[in-house]
C-alpha cells in the first residue's frame, strides 16, 4: 500500500498532478461566489425563516393578534409567553403581555403555522445578534415595531368577506375578537 507511487510510474503521477492543477486553473478568472458580507448582502428568499414578528393590520395599524394562544401551545421551546386575562365583564381577552425569548426560539416556524389570524410571522430579517442575553427578550411593542414593514398575505380578510361559507367556530369568533387587540395594544 505504501508503494503506490512506485507502482504507478512517475509519469502517470505527474500527469495526475497536472490534471488537478488544470481543474484549479479553470477557476482562476472566475468571479467569486462569495459576498463581502457586511457591505453586500444576499437577498433572502421570501420564505426565509428569520426573526419572529407580530404583524399589524394593513389599514389601521393595530395588532392582528387575538390572544388565542395557539402559537404559545405550538411552540416546541416555550419561547412565547402570552398573558391575556379575560375581562370579567365582557369575557374578552385582553393582551397584557406577549414576549418572545429569542434565546430559546429555534426558528422552527410552528407558531406561524398555528396562527389562524395572520398575526405572527417569521420575517426574512436576521442580524439581531447581541452580546447581552437580556436583549433577546422582545416585548409586544418591539415585536410589532420590527414587524411593521413586513409584507404578508392577510388570510383573515377573506374570511370576513365571506363569513357565511363554512363557518367554523374559530372563524365566527374572529371578527368579534378583533377590537380586543386594539385595547390590548393601548393598555
Amino acid at each position: 500500500m505504501q508503494g503506490g507511487i512506485g507502482n504507478m510510474g512517475i509519469f502517470k503521477d505527474i500527469k495526475a498532478l497536472f490534471s488537478g492543477m488544470r481543474i484549479t486553473s479553470k477557476h482562476l478568472g472566475r468571479h467569486a461566489i462569495t459576498l463581502q458580507y457586511p457591505e453586500e448582502k444576499w437577498e433572502m428568499p421570501e420564505r426565509s425563516r428569520g426573526v419572529v414578528v407580530l404583524l399589524s393590520d394593513k389599514e389601521d395599524g393595530s395588532l392582528n393578534c387575538t390572544s388565542c394562544m395557539l402559537c404559545m401551545r405550538a411552540c416546541p421551546t416555550a419561547a412565547i409567553v402570552i398573558d391575556s386575562p379575560r375581562d370579567p365583564e365582557t369575557k374578552k381577552r385582553n393582551l397584557k403581555k406577549f414576549e418572545i425569548d429569542f434565546g430559546l426560539c429555534c426558528f422552527c416556524g410552528l407558531c406561524e403555522e398555528a396562527c389562524n389570524f395572520s398575526a405572527i410571522k417569521l420575517a426574512t430579517k436576521y442580524e439581531f445578534s447581541s452580546a447581552d442575553k437580556d436583549s433577546f427578550l422582545w416585548d409586544v411593542n418591539k415585536l410589532q415595531e420590527v414587524g411593521r414593514d413586513v409584507d404578508y398575505i392577510d388570510t383573515r380578510k377573506k374570511k370576513k368577506v365571506a363569513p357565511k361559507k363554512e363557518t367554523t367556530p374559530a372563524e365566527t369568533k374572529s371578527p368579534e375578537k378583533k377590537p380586543v387587540d386594539q385595547k390590548g395594544e393601548n393598555s
Binding site: 500500500m1 502517470k12 503521477d13 498532478l17 481543474i23 461566489i33 420564505r47 416546541p76 416556524g109
Partner: protein, 367 residues
C-alpha cells in the same frame, strides 16, 4: 541501538480535534506512530433529544429531531413523520411523497458533497473542500427557498410537507443537478488519480464485510465492503420502489472505495431526483392532520436509508398526544463502535483518513 527501551503510551485524540467532526475523544494506545488500540469516548454532545421528545407533541418533535443529525435533517424529519404515520395509519398524498423523495435525495447529495470536501480536507487537500461546499450551496439555496432554512429544515410533517414547492423550484432544481453532474468530473479529476490521495486512501482501513455486518455498519461504509444492502431496496419506504436506480457496491472496503462509492451515489441520487421531478403529480401537499393528533397506543420502528446508513426511530405511543418513548438509531454510532475492531495497526495519520471516510457525525452518536 538494540538496548533502546521502547514502551507503549497513551494518546488522547480529541475531544476538540478538527478531524473528529464534532466532539469525540479517542484514547489511543500507541506504539511509536502505530495505533495499537482505540477506545472511543462519546457523550460530549449529548443533548437529550430522546427525552425532550417525550415532552413534546408529535408535531413539536420534528424541529427537535432536526438537531439529531443536522447534516441530513430532512431524513430526521422524514423518519419521525414516517413512524407517526405508521402509528396513526395516515395516508400521505402522492404529491407529498414525491416532494419528500426529492428533498431526501437532494439532502443525500448535499451530505455526500460535504463528505467529499471534509474528507479531502482531513487528509490534507484544501481545494476539494471549497468545491464541494460551493455545489452544496446550490442545494441549500433550494432548501431555503422551499422551507426557509438551510440546515434545520422542519419541512417534512406528519402527513405530508409543510409547504408546497415554491414557484421556480423545478427549473432551479434541474439547473443545480446539471451543474453538480458536470462538476462531478472535476471532483474526480482532482482526487481520483492524485498520487498523494491514492497513497493516503488505497488499501488503508480495510473493513471486512463480516466485521461490518457484526457491528451493524450500514450505508455506504457497508456497501463499500461488498455487501449490497440499501433500505431503499431492502425495506422500501415512501415511493422508492417506483424509481429506477442502482445501488452502487464496491468490494475492497478501504478508504478509497468508501470515497468512490459516495460519488457514485451522488449520480444515482441525481437520477432519482430527476425522475421524481418529472413524475411530480398535482394535488395536496399535506393530509389533514390536527397538530395535536393522538395516535392509538402501540409502537413502531421506522427506518430509512440516509446518507450515512440506517437511520431509525422507535416510537411508543400510549394514546396521548405526546409519545411515551422515542428511541433514535443513528448509523454513526455503529461506525464509531466498529473502529476498534478494524482500525488498529495503522498510522495515526491514517486513522484520521479512516475516521473521515466512515463519515461519522457526532451529534448522531450522542443525540
Amino acid at each position: 541501538m538494540s538496548d533502546l527501551r521502547t514502551e507503549e503510551y497513551y494518546l488522547n485524540m480529541g475531544p476538540h480535534h478538527p478531524s473528529t467532526h464534532g466532539v469525540c475523544r479517542m484514547v489511543l494506545k500507541m506504539d511509536g506512530e502505530k495505533v495499537k488500540e482505540i477506545e472511543p469516548h462519546i457523550g460530549y454532545l449529548h443533548r437529550s433529544i430522546e427525552k425532550i421528545c417525550e415532552n413534546r407533541t408529535y408535531a413539536q418533535c420534528i424541529p427537535i429531531l432536526d438537531r439529531f443529525e443536522y447534516v441530513t435533517a430532512m431524513s430526521c424529519n422524514y423518519v419521525f413523520a414516517l413512524a407517526a404515520e405508521r402509528l396513526a395509519s395516515i395516508e400521505v398524498p402522492e404529491r407529498a411523497e414525491h416532494i419528500r423523495v426529492i428533498m431526501l435525495e437532494l439532502n443525500r447529495i448535499a451530505s455526500h458533497l460535504l463528505f467529499y470536501g471534509v474528507t479531502a480536507m482531513d487528509i490534507g487537500a484544501l481545494t476539494p473542500f471549497l468545491y464541494g461546499l460551493r455545489e452544496r450551496e446550490s442545494i441549500l439555496d433550494l432548501f431555503e427557498m422551499t422551507c426557509g432554512q438551510r440546515l434545520t429544515y422542519n419541512y417534512i410533517r406528519v402527513g405530508g410537507v409543510s409547504r408546497d414547492l415554491p414557484n421556480g423550484f423545478i427549473p432551479k432544481c434541474h439547473e443545480a443537478l446539471n451543474t453538480i453532474e458536470k462538476k462531478l468530473a472535476d471532483y474526480e479529476g482532482l482526487l481520483n488519480e492524485n498520487p498523494i490521495w491514492l497513497v493516503r486512501t488505497v488499501g488503508i482501513g480495510v473493513l471486512p464485510a463480516k466485521v461490518a455486518l457484526d457491528y451493524g455498519v450500514s450505508g455506504p461504509c457497508l456497501r463499500a465492503s461488498g455487501v449490497q444492502y440499501d433500505l431503499r431496496r431492502n425495506d422500501p419506504y415512501s415511493i422508492y420502489d417506483r424509481f429506477e436506480f442502482d445501488i452502487p457496491v464496491r468490494h475492497n472496503g478501504d478508504c478509497y472505495d468508501r470515497y468512490l462509492l459516495r460519488l457514485d451515489e451522488i449520480r444515482q441520487s441525481i437520477h432519482i431526483v430527476r425522475q421524481a421531478l418529472d413524475a411530480l403529480p398535482e394535488g395536496d401537499f399535506k393530509a389533514k392532520v390536527s397538530p395535536n393528533f393522538k395516535p392509538p397506543a402501540g409502537e413502531v420502528y421506522a427506518r430509512i436509508e440516509n446518507s450515512r446508513g440506517e437511520l431509525g426511530v422507535h416510537v411508543i405511543s400510549d394514546g396521548t398526544k405526546k409519545p411515551l418513548r422515542v428511541k433514535t438509531r443513528g448509523a454513526s454510532y455503529n461506525h464509531i463502535a466498529v473502529l476498534p475492531a478494524f482500525a488498529t495497526d495503522v498510522l495515526l495519520a491514517d486513522l484520521v483518513a479512516i475516521f473521515a471516510t466512515m463519515d461519522v457525525i457526532m451529534p448522531e452518536v450522542d443525540r
